[in-house]
């Protein structure tokens, strides 16, 4: 149950109900600093809903989310980002009519201060900050291997590059926890191993990684621990090898007969 560091994220009795549908119900879990943790489960298990509650898209119906010991459930999304949680999306959601570089610069929004008067008066502080943001954004593009594509519109990038750009944009907010929603969806084998390597390098920067992943090879390869969701409930957790051997997990995936 315990990981390598103190708990970064602690979820207690978390629920998100939509009318009678219990999309997420009574989830308890904790994630420690420096871990790479995967959430797996059949379609409709409530994984993305769980991520959406963590990031403030849904308010949650019940329970607590503690990030670095402070409650964040129900806060507006931008506040949660400011506290150090960033994410990517299952269906890529880049700002399609902006360049790759601008996308990353937008990701930096919560970490810069200049607001209205600075830009209008072109103060020195503002100009310095703006150029600092740009060079930092270029570093993040470099980090994910997209430096050469900075001036391309996001919508014109190849699919794999778009996925990486989402990671760069999320990293630009300097998160402590990076949440990746199916980062390898639709990717071929080379792109997959690229992304696994990227996630490891993200962790080396000191960022904790939480991801939803369907490709078991990736899950087994990358995860320190795995949580298994089914029907909105966490049914198992542990090291990847333990979890795939768990009878409840096999039943969730294959049905009772399969077990």
């Amino acid at each position: 149950m315990t990981g390598p560091g103190p708990a970064l994220l602690e979820v207690r009795d978390l629920a998100q109900h939509f009318g009678g549908l219990k999309a997420v119900d009574s989830v308890n879990l904790s994630i420690h600093e420096g871990e790479i943790v995967s959430v797996i489960g059949p379609n409709g298990a409530g994984k993305t809903t769980f991520f959406n509650v963590l990031t403030g898209v849904y308010p949650g119906t019940r329970g607590d989310i503690l990030f670095e010991g402070r409650p964040i459930r129900g806060l507006p999304s931008h506040d949660i980002v400011a506290r150090g949680v960033a994410r990517t999306f299952q269906n890529i959601r880049l700002f399609s009519c902006m360049t790759a570089l601008e996308n990353v610069m937008v990701g930096r929004h919560s970490r810069t201060s200049q607001f209205l008067l600075g830009p209008l008066l072109r103060t020195r502080a503002y100009r310095e900050e703006e150029s600092a943001v740009e060079s930092l954004a270029k570093e993040f593009l470099d980090f994910v291997g997209l430096r050469a594509l900075g001036n391309e519109l996001a919508k014109n990038l190849p699919y794999g590059a778009q996925r990486k750009l989402e990671v760069a944009r999320a990293l630009a907010s300097e998160p402590k926890l990076l949440i990746l929603d199916e980062p390898t969806a639709g990717m071929n084998q080379t792109e997959c191993s690229d992304l696994v390597a990227l996630a490891r390098r993200v962790r080396e920067r000191g960022v904790t990684v939480l991801l939803i992943e369907h490709q078991m090879r990736v899950v087994m390869d990358i995860s320190d621990r795995v949580f298994v969701f089914d029907y909105g409930v966490k049914i198992a957790e542990g090291k990847p090898r333990q979890v795939v051997a768990d009878a409840r997990v096999i039943e969730a995936y294959l049905g009772r007969e399969g077990a």
Binding site: G56, V57, P119
Partner: protein, 299 residues
């Protein structure tokens, strides 16, 4: 003759464009038509007049007076727009698409009648702090007032371009226009961006109100209605939500009206008919406007 017409068209078009920008900025982010925008520009003009009337000492004369009128008109219009958004639109934003629209119509009526009842039911003369002289240019006679209108409008459009393209807040506005919920998940406070958008759009409208007052020499409680309706048309013509489209649409509409006046017998009476007929034809061919992109079906 043609040079003169084009010059007149540019002056008229510049005012339409400034107003159209206010509609298009708000629509770009909220997909909502701010029907109170025409009253916002009217209040900008009245604020500038109030300054000239009640603080003539601070007001001065010449270029400083001109600058003071713009600053006052733009600041007041921007603030009114922000307050209207905060109390009349924001609480309804999550309810339905229609509710803020109805609220906007209500705000429009309240503001217009407020000025009608408390300030004046009549036309008030509007100061022109520039000496009106005529300059000859390419065979056209240009008044210094026209130069002020064109210069101010183009200058403000240049500022807006810089703001939207190059500043952090401008990027945040574009991000919100692209996908407002993702923008929130990337750390942008969408409510704040929306407030700034209303301020900027309102301030441009306020500037247009001041220019309108100077152009016609008098203002009235209902001055916003017709230019507001036409600027909205211009925004749709150019492709609503598209900044360049709003500017293009404003100038095209100005050109259509002026050419109708100049080249068609009794054209002055027909100019609105002609302008709006062209609009209908354009929209039949290009429903999303001249520069508008086809709305992508969102999944």
């Amino acid at each position: 003759m043609l040079a003169q017409q084009i010059l007149n068209a540019l002056t008229l078009g510049a005012i339409y464009s400034l107003i159209a920008l206010g509609y298009t900025l708000v629509y770009g982010i909220l997909a909502m038509i701010n029907f109170a925008h025409s009253e916002v520009l009217m209040l900008g003009a009245f604020t500038a007049l109030g300054l000239a009337t009640f603080a003539p000492a601070a007001f001065g004369s010449g270029p400083s007076a001109l600058a003071a009128m713009f600053v006052a008109g733009m600041a007041a219009a921007g603030l009114v727009n922000v307050v209207v958004e905060r109390f009349a639109y924001r609480p309804l934003r999550a309810v339905s698409r229609l509710a803020p629209l109805i609220s906007a119509i209500g705000v429009s009526i309240v503001l217009q009648n407020g000025v009608f009842l408390w300030i004046s039911t009549q036309s008030l003369s509007f100061p022109r702090p520039v000496v009106i002289g005529q300059i000859s240019l390419f065979g056209a006679s240009v008044s210094s007032l026209q130069l002020v209108i064109l210069g101010a409008a183009l200058g403000l459009m240049g500022l807006l371009h810089f703001f939207v393209e190059s500043t952090k807040m401008g990027k945040a506005m574009r991000a919100c226009a692209d996908d407002i919920s993702t923008a929130g998940l990337m750390g942008i406070d969408a409510d704040r961006v929306i407030a700034v958008t209303f301020f900027v759009g309102g301030a441009l409208g306020g500037a247009a109100g001041v220019l309108y007052g100077m152009n016609y020499g008098s203002i009235k409680y209902n001055l916003g209605f017709l230019p507001g309706a036409k600027a909205f048309t211009a925004a749709v013509l150019g492709g609503i939500g598209n900044i360049r489209g709003a500017v293009l649409g404003g100038f095209i509409l100005g050109l259509l009206e002026v050419l109708a006046c100049g080249y068609i017998p009794d054209g002055a009476q027909w100019r609105d008919v002609i302008a709006f007929t062209v609009l209908i034809v354009v929209l039949l061919v290009r429903p999303s406007g001249l520069l508008g992109e086809k709305m992508a079906e969102k999944v």
